[in-house]
Structure formats: structure tokens, C-alpha cells
């Protein structure tokens, strides 16, 4: 079936098998290999993508369901230079094998887009659907907090620059 959708802000048209999962389609056909398969049953969050602004498990969705929708993967965030979260995970040592990391970053992105300054509990709740077998979760929570600070700084510099411009 032919589908049309937006992937990382690019228009895509593709003829995809009707029984293919979004996970396999994104990895095999679109070559978005940041999207990982862990459990394949909605439990681990390694396959998390952002669909219309919400984090969802791509193993629970058919590729044909993407028709008309807007999808972001980690590759897309890199392309537009939206890397504060990624850097924070690296700086805080919240990555070991890295298999879970793209999924965590996508869930973190949705959290911070909706709640720029989350507390510990809000972070835990938002990342409940992502599992990590290496790091323990403390460093991940620290990374989310660091990302929140970085984004706030970025926003104030942008605002300052705007302010300067207005002042001139």
C-alpha cells in the first residue's frame, strides 16, 4: 500500500507491505537504524519514535498507520542540530552499550517539550516505558536534568539575542 508521511521533516512516499511493522519499515526501508528492537512487545521502549509529538513504540504500530502522520527519529534530531539531550546523556555517563539510548532520548525529548523543568518524579514517570540494563537509572535522571538546564540556557540566549536586536 502506498503511504505518504513526514519523516524527520521530509515528505516521504513509499509503497510498503500492509503487514509490516513501523519498526521494521523504519529500520529496513528508511534505514533509520537508531530505532532498535528489544522486546518487540511494547515493554522496553528501545523502538520509541515520536509520532505527532507523542512518544510511541514503533513495534506496536503498522507502517501503513504512519500514512498522513508526522514521525521523528533520533537521526532527524541530529540533522536539525537538536543534540542537547544526546550531549547530556554522554556527559553524565548515562550511556553504556547504547542500545536503549535512542529510545530514552526520544522519550526525554517529548518530556522536555511539554515540561521544560521536570522534577525527579516527573522524569521517572515519563521514562517508565524505557528500560536500560546497563547504567542504572540515576545517571539517566541526571542527564535529563542537565538537558533541561542546557535547553533553558539555549532559550535564554536566544531570547537575549532577540532582546538585543529589539533594543538596537
Amino acid at each position: 500500500m502506498k503511504i505518504r508521511f513526514k519523516l524527520n521533516n521530509k515528505d516521504i512516499e513509499y509503497d510498503v507491505e500492509e503487514y509490516k511493522r513501523a519498526l521494521d519499515f523504519l529500520r529496513d526501508d528508511m534505514r533509520m537504524t537508531s530505532v532498535k528492537e528489544g522486546c518487540g512487545e511494547g515493554e522496553c521502549g528501545a523502538c520509541t519514535i515520536i509520532l505527532n509529538g507523542k512518544n510511541v513504540n514503533s513495534c506496536m504500530i503498522l507502517a501503513v498507520e504512519l500514512d498522513g502522520q508526522e514521525v521523528w527519529t533520533l537521526e532527524g534530531l541530529n540533522e536539525i542540530g537538536d543534540t542537547s539531550i544526546q550531549e547530556s546523556y554522554i556527559e553524565k555517563g548515562a550511556i553504556q552499550c547504547g542500545f536503549c539510548t535512542p529510545g530514552f532520548i526520544m522519550s526525554t525529548k517529548v518530556l522536555l517539550d511539554n515540561n521544560p523543568d521536570p522534577d525527579d518524579n516527573e522524569i521517572k514517570e515519563a521514562l517508565e516505558g524505557n528500560l536500560c540494563r546497563c547504567t542504572g537509572y540515576t545517571k539517566i535522571i541526571e542527564a535529563v536534568k542537565l538537558a533541561s538546564t542546557k535547553l533553558a540556557e539555549k532559550n535564554t540566549t536566544v531570547a537575549d539575542k532577540r532582546g538585543e536586536k529589539n533594543a538596537v
Binding site: 500492509e18 511494547g42 506496536m60
Partner: protein
């Protein structure tokens, strides 16, 4: 898994497809995709209900109408719903994870007819009814459920929306025992809504999940305690009655013995929790 996919835009078209083929409806897909992967169901065609769109959540006459394709996240975002159905909000927050709640629907939970279905259990306490299309029937949800995974719908029928009644002036208790918080299905669950005057029971509804082929509620037992004082003795007695009647099974999640013990223990825990809120307020 190999099947065709269709996303009809009208009730008639959807209903025709459903009755003419070995078909499965797809809402959030969080139950269906697991079953397809396990090959425990092999439909010829998947019918995506999202082609019918999503109507607004409506409130009228102390009731909420939740339409097709409404997700758990939609409900958690709805201010009125949060105000009027605090127990359901607590239950929903414990279903799956954010990723699951962003896709999964209460109607999918009902139609999946699992004895562990958390939202399904809640509909037993909230006077839940389902509106069915294209036949335009309105049926009590507990009467629709016909065993694990079985729901009494004709080939052409599907659930179009559900209705729940507000429980104004009630206290509630909900507990699900599981291996991990927020994920996966429960080993046993218990939900209670209680209305009392002083310390006397005016109305009580008690529903257990995961201890039988469907959600379990005994209305005669509920009626038998109306007008009685809320005491530990009364809840001990009630616990004995439920233990006598409920015959859980052993499965990968827990043994029958464990579940049977928990039937009574959870009820006693409920007593202390409900009484705590009474003493405080």
C-alpha cells in the same frame, strides 16, 4: 503475519468489511500487535477504526461518553474527566507506560476482554454501557463479556462509544498486584467504590480482576452488607465469602493458592485504606 489493511471512513463500510471477512479491528494496536506477533490470531484483514475519526469526550447527566479511538492520554489530558473520575485517572496512570497510553484505548481494553483488563474492571464499578453500531444497541458492558477474549458482538457489530456514570460522594480503592509497577498485566486486582453515611454502608461495589475467566462481581454479596457498620469483622467475613466463591487458576504469573489468599488479604487492605480516609475526613 500476513494480512490486508483497510481504513474505512464510514460506519457502514467498516461494518460490511467486518462481517464479510475474517477481520480484526485495530484501535491502538497494543493488544492486537502482541497477538499477531504470537500468531494467536490470524486475520485476513485488519480494519483500522481510526478512519472513523475521533469525536469529543462528552459529559452529560452525570455521565461521560468516551468515543471510539479516544486514548488513555486523551483522557488524562481532559480536565473535566480528571475532576469527575479520580479513580479512573489513578487506574489509567498504572496502565502500561507513556508510550502505551499514547496509543491504547479504553474501548480496546474492553473488547480485548481480558480478566486482567484494568479499564474493563472499572466499567463494572461505574455502571458502564457500550453503544453498538450499526445496530444502535446499548448494552451493559458486563453483559457483553463472554469469557477471556470473548465479546458478544455480531459479525457486523462493533463498539462505537462507551458511557460511565459518575460516582459522586463515593470513596474508592483500587489495587493491582503485579511484578512491576506500571507495566504488564496484573496477578490480581481489586476495585471498590463505597458510599457510606456515618460508618454505615449505603452502597458498595466490589470487582476482582485476574482471578477468573472474566472480571468477578457478586451483587448479592454487595447487597448483603448494605446497612451494616464498616468493621474489620465485616470485611473479614466478606473476605471469607469471596474466597469461598472465587476459584482462581495457576498460570505463569502466580499460583492459584497465592491468588486465593490475596482475594481476602486485598479486601482487608481495602478496609484499612477506606477507613483511613474516613477517619481523616
Amino acid at each position: 503475519m500476513q494480512f490486508k489493511y483497510s481504513k474505512p471512513k464510514t460506519i457502514e463500510e467498516l461494518s460490511m468489511l467486518k462481517s464479510n471477512y475474517n477481520a480484526k479491528l485495530l484501535a491502538g494496536g497494543t493488544d492486537l500487535m502482541v497477538k499477531l506477533r504470537a500468531k494467536s490470531c490470524k486475520p485476513e484483514i485488519i480494519i483500522d477504526t481510526k478512519g472513523l475519526g475521533k469525536n469529543e469526550i462528552k459529559f452529560e447527566n452525570e455521565k461521560v461518553i468516551i468515543p471510539l479511538n479516544t486514548t488513555y492520554s486523551d483522557l488524562l489530558k481532559n480536565k473535566k474527566f480528571k475532576e469527575k473520575f479520580p479513580m479512573l485517572v489513578d487506574i489509567i496512570k498504572k496502565i502500561g507506560s507513556p508510550q502505551i497510553r499514547n496509543r491504547a484505548t479504553p474501548i480496546g481494553n474492553i473488547c480485548n476482554a481480558s480478566p486482567a483488563g484494568d479499564f474493563l474492571l472499572a466499567t463494572y464499578l461505574y455502571h458502564g454501557y457500550a453503544y453498538i453500531k450499526p445496530t444502535n444497541k446499548k448494552i451493559k458492558i458486563s453483559q457483553l463479556i463472554d469469557g477471556p477474549g470473548k465479546i458478544k458482538l455480531k459479525p457486523e457489530e462493533f463498539i462505537y462509544s462507551i458511557e460511565l456514570k459518575e460516582r459522586i460522594g463515593y470513596e474508592y480503592y483500587y489495587e493491582k498486584v503485579g511484578k512491576r509497577n506500571a507495566m504488564n498485566i496484573s496477578i490480581i486486582s481489586l476495585g471498590i467504590v463505597l458510599k457510606k453515611k456515618q460508618n454505615i454502608i449505603e452502597e458498595i461495589k466490589i470487582a476482582y480482576g485476574s482471578v477468573g475467566p472474566t472480571i468477578i462481581r457478586f451483587e448479592d454479596l454487595e447487597k448483603s452488607v448494605i446497612g451494616k457498620e464498616i468493621t474489620r469483622d465485616l470485611f473479614d467475613w466478606l473476605g471469607e465469602q469471596y474466597t469461598k466463591r472465587i476459584n482462581p487458576i495457576t498460570d505463569v504469573r502466580a499460583t492459584a493458592e497465592y491468588r486465593k489468599k490475596m482475594v481476602k488479604n486485598l479486601l482487608i487492605k481495602a478496609f484499612y485504606n477506606l477507613n483511613k480516609t474516613f477517619q481523616e475526613g
